[in-house]
């Protein structure tokens, strides 16, 4: 398969030194047609060419909204690749990894945050970007190696991960359960966390977040079962339960499960064998555009993410299926 080029399909091809001129000219040409917007950030997508095909569309969509400058850099062996400028997006195709941070430094909007969307590549590149970026959102097929590097950079930049962002709703709903006094009281009796997932990395993040935040009793077990197809995580059960559908008197269970349409989550709480709360909530926008838009709203270090990653690096993944391939 031929990797798709990480360049906007339209726009003007210019040498690197002419990018600023080209962007300014574009603004003048568009004149009143370009709505005046307040800029909020630079978003940089970095990765190997074959991982940037989908990223082009996402970045251009964000940049077209007019509030971010999009920079797309595919790694290669070219020291001076031609740049393609289209509206608020600049694409550099095949740039040598050692020059990536230099290019970002030259092209990012000064005085505004820079968010790096890491789609893979050499881990050394991440070190240079950590100095420049305010946030780095990791999005790698097999992230454990880059997580191990990221752990050493947590003091330099704020890190996140696309998988982690997609777990936000699951985590929020789990947190809601623990607002219920009966659940807080029953927490000490919880013995097991069961996750049905297609993606073991997402399952591991969820499990690591929960077990690194709440101190469960010794012997507490995490069990990840393979659920091929569908979304990365499909069902989470936490509690002290027998495993059957019938609740016994001692059974405590918090359950989150994707509803049939996969746009909703069913939640239920059972305490002392009695189902005390159940509801359905929406999953929220899980598309890459939705996830990155959400990440642009976060400006500080995500300590919960850092704790979860550190736990996985230290303890490894729970037993489960093989890692998923990112879209």
């Amino acid at each position: 398969m031929t990797p798709s080029a990480p360049a906007p399909t339209s726009g003007t091809e210019v040498p690197f030194v002419k990018i600023a001129d080209a962007m300014a000219r574009r603004v003048c040409q568009d004149g009143g047609a370009t709505p005046m917007r307040a800029l909020v950030a630079t978003v940089v997508a970095v990765g190997p060419t074959d991982r940037l095909g989908g990223a082009t569309e996402v970045l251009q969509s964000l940049a077209d909204a007019g509030t971010v400058r999009g920079i797309l850099i595919s790694e290669g062996d070219n020291a001076e690749p031609p740049a393609r400028v289209a509206g608020n997006t600049v694409a550099l195709h095949g740039l040598k990894p050692r020059y990536v941070n230099n290019a970002v430094a030259a092209l990012r909007l000064s005085s505004l945050p820079t968010l790096v969307w890491w789609r893979g590549g050499l881990a050394d590149t991440l070190d240079g970007l950590a100095d420049l970026a305010d946030r780095i959102v990791l999005d790698d097929e097999e992230p454990r190696a880059i997580w191990a590097r990221a752990v050493t950079l947590f003091e330099e930049s704020a890190f996140s991960d696309v998988r982690w962002a997609r777990l936000t709703q699951w985590r929020a709903l789990m947190a809601h359960f623990f607002d219920i006094p009966e659940v807080q009281a029953a927490c000490a009796q919880f013995t097991r966390l069961e996750i049905r997932a297609r993606d073991p990395i997402s399952a591991a993040l969820l499990a690591a977040w929960l077990t690194s935040t709440i101190r469960f009793n010794e012997g507490f077990a995490v069990d990840v079962t393979d659920a091929p197809g569908g979304p990365p995580v499909q069902e989470v059960r936490l509690g002290r339960f027998a495993g059957s559908d019938r609740l016994d008197d001692d059974q405590q269970e918090l359950m989150l499960r994707l509803a049939g349409s996969e746009s909703c989550l069913e939640t239920s709480v059972s305490v002392r064998g009695h189902r005390s709360a159940s509801r359905v909530v929406s999953v929220r926008d899980q598309s890459l555009i939705g996830v990155l838009t959400g990440e642009l709203r976060i400006r500080a270090r995500d300590m919960a993410f850092e704790r979860a990653v550190q736990a996985i690096i230290a303890e490894g993944l729970p037993v489960g299926p093989r890692p998923e391939s990112s879209p």
Partner: protein, 508 residues
């Protein structure tokens, strides 16, 4: 385990603990138009607690299922094009219950207490008085008598009271006294939906989160402030209420005074409810009496009232206020108010705040315009054919929430020509996503126990202390009230009010 550590982390927004919302006036307009759609959106954003229920209370006889059907209808009509009768809505509907009865009947409150005991999640109970103001006192007294107002050992009880809070100073004081007999002040949430708007909240951030604006936010740099809240609609279906209220009670006493206090307040020492509300109260206490009896240099008062006549709005012919259904043909209710407000404070001495609000005006907008002084020396007057216009900061409260700054710039070219330019910041486009509706923000804040965006008893009374002399003076003036043509920016007297200071209203 103390607290809930799973909420730690900025990504997860705060969510209330188990809550039951009891809406008095459940079959009414406010519930259908605002409250039920707000609950739906909060549910979609996962901001409602895991244990949450709604009990609707109203006079109409209705079963739970009929109330749920009303919720569905409300979504269809008022929740916007994206709202669907989806799984989330159905799940929320399944947590809705209904009680019918007379608000004066103690039996209703006994049944309510029983129902609350049956419902999971009634540790926190929020009573919402979406009822006519004339029965606020009755409901509060009955809640107290039924022991529903007392804070339980585990959980909380709060009450949201809609505007208008009283009709004058005496009635507001009386209502506060009744409320305080049964609820402590920290249980009482007097709602003013203007305070739930993002831009109004952003005023605090804009002023006190930035270092560059506050130094010029005073009499030395600001010439005057204009606060406008204009509507294109007429009295619509609210004639019964509006006939007894008028624009001063409906808009100025609450919304405009809240906005004015946010613009004029001194910096709070912390972003806490009491600190912010203390400083807002200070600003209001500094307002000079609005009935301008002692100033011989001015003609009349600092307040102008008028009523709309027939005219054209948005391309349609509309009747005069007096010809609207339900309105007394000889009504003297004002549909327009303009006021010149001065503050006795070091910061604002000599800086007028011009307020105007009205129905059937040409455009629906709410904005705060801060006009800065001209430069002390106009050095470009001879060189440029165009004159320098004063800098202007505009805070758009609605419909297009954002902030704009107008300043002068040189037109490109060899000649010195100056033209005003505008820099715009818009919530809708800059941050993407939906801006929460005011009622979503305020309902959530009340459930979370954050009263920052609600009016405190002393603010309400101070505001009424300013309005009551105006109302009394108007009452003592017999004869017809001035009119303005629907679709115009108010009566000529409003223009004269500001023209006396050699200024003019902004053209919006």
């Amino acid at each position: 385990m103390t607290g809930n550590p799973l909420h730690d982390g900025l990504r997860l927004e705060p969510t209330p603990g188990p809550t039951t919302l009891v809406i008095f006036g459940a079959s009414g307009d406010l519930t259908r138009r605002k409250l039920l759609p707000a609950l739906y959106r909060l549910s979609h954003r996962s901001r409602l607690p895991a244990q949450f229920a709604v009990i609707g209370v109203a006079r109409s006889a209705m079963e739970d299922e009929a109330f749920r059907a009303q919720f569905r209808e409300s979504l269809r009509e008022f929740a916007g094009p994206d709202a669907e009768w989806d799984e989330v809505a159905k799940s929320l509907a399944s947590q809705m219950y209904y009680l019918s009865g007379e608000t004066s009947d103690p039996g209703l409150y006994q049944r309510l207490a029983t129902r609350l005991k049956e419902i999971q999640g009634a540790e926190g109970v929020l009573f919402y008085l979406a009822i006519p103001p004339t029965i606020y006192a009755t409901v509060i007294e009955q809640l107290g008598a039924a022991n529903l107002a007392t804070q339980p050992e585990r959980g909380w009880r709060r009450v949201i009271i809609e505007k208008p809070f009283g009709t004058d100073l005496a009635s507001a004081r009386e209502l506060n006294q009744i409320a305080h007999r049964h609820f402590s002040e920290d249980q009482v949430y007097r709602i003013d939906h203007y305070l739930g708007k993002e831009t109004v909240q952003n005023l605090l951030v804009f002023r006190f989160g930035n270092g560059m604006f506050e130094p010029v936010w005073n009499r030395r740099y600001i010439d005057h402030v204009q606060i406008t809240a204009s509507e294109t609609v007429g009295v619509e279906h609210r004639a019964a209420y509006y006939e007894g209220a008028g624009a001063l009670r409906d808009m100025v006493q609450n919304h405009l005074m809240q906005v004015l206090s946010l613009v004029a307040m001194e910096p709070p020492i912390a972003f806490t409810a009491e600190s912010v509300r203390d400083r807002k109260l200070d600003a209001l206490l500094a307002v000079q009496p609005l009935v301008d009896v002692g100033d011989s240099t001015r003609t009349g008062w600092g307040v102008v009232r008028a009523q709309y006549g027939a005219g054209w709005v948005n391309g349609a012919e509309v009747p005069a206020y007096c010809a609207e259904p339900g309105v007394n043909p000889a009504s003297t209710a004002e549909t327009f108010v303009a006021a010149r407000v001065l503050l006795d404070s070091w910061r604002w001495a000599g800086v007028p705040f011009y307020l105007r609000t009205g129905k059937r005006l040409p455009k629906r907008t709410t904005e705060i315009a801060i006009q800065f002084r001209r430069p002390p020396l106009e050095i470009f007057r001879r060189a440029s054919q165009t004159s320098v216009v004063p800098d202007l900061l505009i805070v758009n409260v609605q419909p297009d929430e954002g902030i704009s700054l107008r300043f002068d710039a040189k037109l490109p070219g060899t000649r010195m020509q100056i033209a005003p330019v505008m820099m715009n910041f818009r919530y809708g486009t800059t941050f993407g996503g939906e801006v929460p509706e005011a009622y979503e923000t305020l309902l959530l804040d009340a459930m979370l126990g954050d009263p920052t965006l609600f009016a405190r008893h002393d603010f309400v009374e101070t505001s009424w202390a300013l309005m009551t002399p105006v109302l009394e003076a108007w009452r003592s003036q017999p004869g017809p009230i001035p009119t303005y043509e629907a679709g115009e920016w108010g009566p000529a007297q409003a223009d004269e009010l500001i023209a006396q200071d050699r200024r003019r209203w902004r053209t919006l």
